[in-house]
Symmetry: C2
DNA sequence: CTATGTGAAGTGTTTCACAGCC
DNA sequence: GGCTGTGAAACACTTCACATAG
């Protein structure tokens, strides 16, 4: 086995490097060293080298990495040649914002459908996407080749929505509801709990100077 | 030194336990074992026990933990008796959604001010909060005792905003911009990069069955 | 008999430090 | 000289397994 095990933490960092390289390329910078790339991303130089070394040898001793070459390599590794169709379930404040969030499309993620349980919202349009009833989800997932589902419904509804998504064949879920979802092993769930993130920040605020003892 | 080092990963989990305990208390469930709490949060029983044991001995051998007691203990540890004032910078789609996101208030986080660089937005109201010019930030932070800042501006503006927040005395920042911020050591930054999270999900989608090699 | 609390073992990740190359 | 690629060491976190308590 030639291939070492790649830490789960490495992949998100590769996306960070890629963004930085895209910026650097725009400024016509030709080469960059691991330590400089690390400075720009708040990571250590050895971290940068190790992450990249999992996938091959792309650098040149003495001068560093070619920006354009490394950018291409990362795009290949990360599958940026492909685009993925995304559906959102729950078009409240947050869901609506995500629906219109321009950052996704730039990264090869296409928001192609939106669903809501609220009959009053069904049929309304948001940025060229017509909100559909949740009953239409399975059919739309197939028809539009959707592979990622975003859950942006209130906590108590989230598990039910997850089951509908899984039944429709979705294997990648981004969950904004503050509950722990139960899904089959083959389904990948990424929890993004905004309150919890903020709360965690505030914990450190509360225990800034004192000890974190009870 | 009586106090063992607490893993950084433990704190977010304590918030997860607390939410579950709040649910359990609402259903009048009196006691819970580590393994049952683990099942409900998708964590292992030993993980639950270890996390709690960092802060003391709250369980009873043979029967488990008292729901009400543990809930109280966690609220104390996590500083849920306090509330924190939050300001948001950047009232676009995402910032606007966060501004009106009801989940924060429930968790002791009060959104009290909003700022935007766009003069057209300044003076407008969103959910009882009047959008202010960024120049007013330092004064408002002091006047309203704001301790957490949320950055929801486009990437290129984020670093500048971070500097303004830091200069105003903010030590906790939640950053939604897809850039790595440079801030002094005493400032706590939590990056929430929605595109990156989705991209990471899609990476695993792309490499589901094949090897993740280049 | 059930379930906690906890050292010890195991696993995963990051940093160190240096040989080798440009 | 400067910088990469990489084993080895250090560190961090999770799981195991069991003595101990109700």
């Amino acid at each position: 086995m030639n291939q070492k095990k790649i830490p789960k933490t490495t992949i998100p960092r590769l996306f960070v490097y890629l963004r930085e390289l895209t910026d650097l390329a725009a400024y016509n910078i030709r080469t960059i060293s691991s330590s400089e790339l690390g400075d720009r991303t708040n990571l250590s130089d050895s971290q940068v080298r190790k992450d990249l070394a999992y996938f091959g040898q792309f650098g040149t001793s003495g001068s560093g990495y070619s920006v354009s070459e490394l950018k291409l390599v990362l795009e290949k590794i990360l599958g940026k040649d492909k685009t993925w169709n995304v559906a959102i379930v729950g078009v409240g404040h947050l869901g609506g914002a995500l629906l219109t969030y321009s950052g996704f499309r730039r990264q090869g993620l296409c928001m192609v459908a939106a669903f809501d349980m609220d009959a009053a919202k069904v049929g309304k349009k948001r940025e060229s996407i017509t909100i559909q009833s949740i009953e239409e989800l399975p059919g739309t997932v197939k028809k539009k080749d959707i592979s990622i589902g975003i859950i942006a419904v209130p906590g108590p509804e989230a598990q039910k929505v997850a089951e509908i998504l899984v039944a429709a064949g979705i294997e990648c879920i981004m969950n904004f509801a503050p509950v722990s979802l139960n899904v089959p092993e083959n389904v990948n769930v990424k929890d993004v709990d905004l309150s919890r993130e903020l709360e965690t920040l505030s914990y450190y605020l509360a225990n800034r100077n004192g000890d974190p003892k009870i």
